[in-house]
Assembly symmetry: C2
């Protein structure tokens, strides 16, 4: 198959920042693309060959979008999988395969997948409705605190909440959900596994994540993670085990907990490029977006080593600011060595909305870490006065 | 000035591969762009916010294109400078400034600039018409061999020819031209200087170029050049001297000869991102396209050091092939570590046409050099049968 400057067409469901960064790679190789998103202001609206405005959750819309592409992929899991399945049955290549996507899309199904395949994960209970949780606590079937997660369509801190008191339950939507035992972890880690259509597999170095305590959004991603080699090895093994059983094609970002006694537990996975891999654009020999494209097209996978240490800082909307975005102190961070901001192109900011990220690279990790802190304290995502 | 996700608009004259790679950076920072090119198949037609089809050499077209942008830049020198001058007079920011562009656009004027400013360059003669050259040789005013260059609009090996015999003169167009003394050089080098609107200056490491002997196109660009520190220092000093006198804003790519006795002579310059800086996308802390954007917007300049050794191989159309392009053995080069192809997106190939490039990066220069050779021998740019 000839992909480069050819008639080949790649379909991408979702036109957000992940799609936007994927398009840098399709442009680099002159691969034709067709992208769909529900927002006319989607960051992908330009740089693709064809942009379709439409709902990712509507069967007919997704089905008709996918009919004329050669390979169909996603940049967000919240898509109509029934339509993808029909396309797959009709001979369109869909990566990740719908089977893997179905398993991942529902967090209860995803958890069951881990237990079914002897993949270490935290204990959990499954509920058809959040309202059933109160009874379960009353019966002694569930103890506070726990992590509540909506089973369907949780994304970036939406649909996830730490429940410490009965009060915390009140604001939650009454939907299918799971309650996970809180993990007393030392570190949150992630491993990105790439698996190509031709069955080749490669892993990126283990990264370490620091989360914002309230918003449940990543603040720093640090590559390589500052952990023992043994722990890194174990984390990579667990990620590979998930990948093997999932039989995905493309990237699989595996989020992990390192417990106090250095056990590795799977938190959750995403079958696509992931926030924890953004550092790779500046730091890695092959960035995650190129690797995803290589994998789904059955091309050889690229080298995943890093050229230099990389740290990523998410740019999220400041609290108390909603409206037309303005990035304050950009010049100050551009003064710092090895600092690359990425502005996703969302016109409206709101508290904790992911508006961009900044990558800091340096030969020396401790210097990179200091610069990252400095970046974090300097740049502000606010609304225009 | 607020550039990011704002109403600010950058105009770019020229929609070829240099513009295309510049657009990766404007997309990364969500800077609005408007691009003009004469070809509806220009690589920039997507990924800009607005594409205008039009002649870069037509006064009215260029003038009306530039009226509503905030900053106007170029990705090719062959543009109507009179229109730019009028825009500049009317308050549009034009970088490079038209004065620098005028000096550079005409190779005779460019050569005079070097002699006027005591910048070392090879001796030359200037002719209003190529037809005058024969007389000059007959009179003993010029000796064979020499390098003939058309004064206007030479680009990428077009308009340059080594004249060794009177026969070689016959095919040349009868235009304003210069005849340069052949330089017996050890190496061809290049230094990219960035100069920002606010007057800051930074230089990239000296690179070493290997040219195709017939097509006069770069085959390999090697960063850093494998030369003595003293020579590198001298090359950088000469480049800075040109930059200082040129008073350009944005990048200035300075092509240099290292003579047999380690003198440095300026060959020619380009006031824009340049083929000799493509390696920087994968190898440098700040790539040349981002640096150009930083410079023309008056932002702080980025660090120009390399993370790893970088070598660039141009992908040019194979001899004997004209028509719809096909890239042969792409999978084989993607198997090699640290190899990144860039496909510009030109649909038609012809012998020696620049269709793309491949960057090879490695911690170890000698390993990178071997891989580069391997890449060069493997990939083929042919026409479809």
């Amino acid at each position: 198959m000839n992909f480069f400057s050819s008639d080949f067409k790649l379909g991408i469901l979702g036109g957000g920042q992940l799609g936007k960064m994927m398009l840098y790679e399709t442009r680099k190789w002159d691969i034709q693309t067709k992208v769909m998103d529900a927002s006319p202001e989607a960051p992908c609206r330009i740089a693709c060959d064809e942009f379709v405005l439409g709902s990712l959750l509507d069967f007919d819309t997704v089905y008709s979008f996918g009919k004329d592409v050669d390979v169909l992929t996603i940049e967000i899991e919240n898509v109509n999988v029934d339509a993808l399945e029909k396309l797959e049955q009709e001979g369109i290549t869909v990566y990740p395969p719908t089977k893997a996507l179905r398993t991942i899309q529902n967090k209860a199904t995803q958890k069951l997948f881990y237990t079914d395949n002897d993949v270490p994960t935290s204990p959990f209970s499954r509920f058809a409705y959040t309202s059933e949780i109160e009874d379960s606590i009353a019966n002694g079937g569930l103890n506070l605190p726990f992590v509540w997660k909506s089973a369907q369509f949780g994304y970036d801190g939406q649909g996830v909440k730490v429940v410490r008191t009965m009060e915390d339950l009140k604001d939650l939507p009454n939907v299918e959900c799971i309650a996970e035992e809180m993990v007393n972890f030392k570190n949150e880690l992630a491993v990105i596994v790439a698996r190509s259509a031709s069955g080749n597999i490669t892993t990126y170095p283990v990264v370490e994540m620091e989360f914002h305590p309230e918003a449940n959004q990543v603040e720093y991603v640090i590559c390589p993670a500052r952990i023992d080699d043994n722990v890194a090895r174990k984390a990579t093994e667990v990620a590979l085990k998930v990948s093997e059983h999932m039989q995905h094609v493309g990237l699989l970002a595996v989020e992990l907990f390192q417990t106090q006694d250095d056990e590795i537990l799977v938190n959750e996975v995403a079958p696509r490029p992931h926030n924890s891999g953004h550092y790779s654009i500046e730091a890695s020999y092959t960035n995650q977006f190129e690797q995803h494209i290589r994998a789904i097209l059955g091309l050889p996978l690229g080298k995943t080593d890093s050229k230099v240490a990389g740290i990523m800082v998410n740019l999220v909307g400041a609290e108390g600011h909603t409206g037309n975005v303005v990035y304050e102190n950009m010049e100050d961070i551009l003064e710092m060595d090895g600092v690359t901001p990425h502005i996703y192109g969302k016109k409206q900011t709101r508290p904790f909305r992911k508006m961009g990220h900044v990558t800091i690279v340096d030969e020396d990790m401790s210097r990179a870490r200091k610069v990252a802190q400095h970046v974090k304290e300097t740049i502000q995502v606010k609304s225009k006065k």
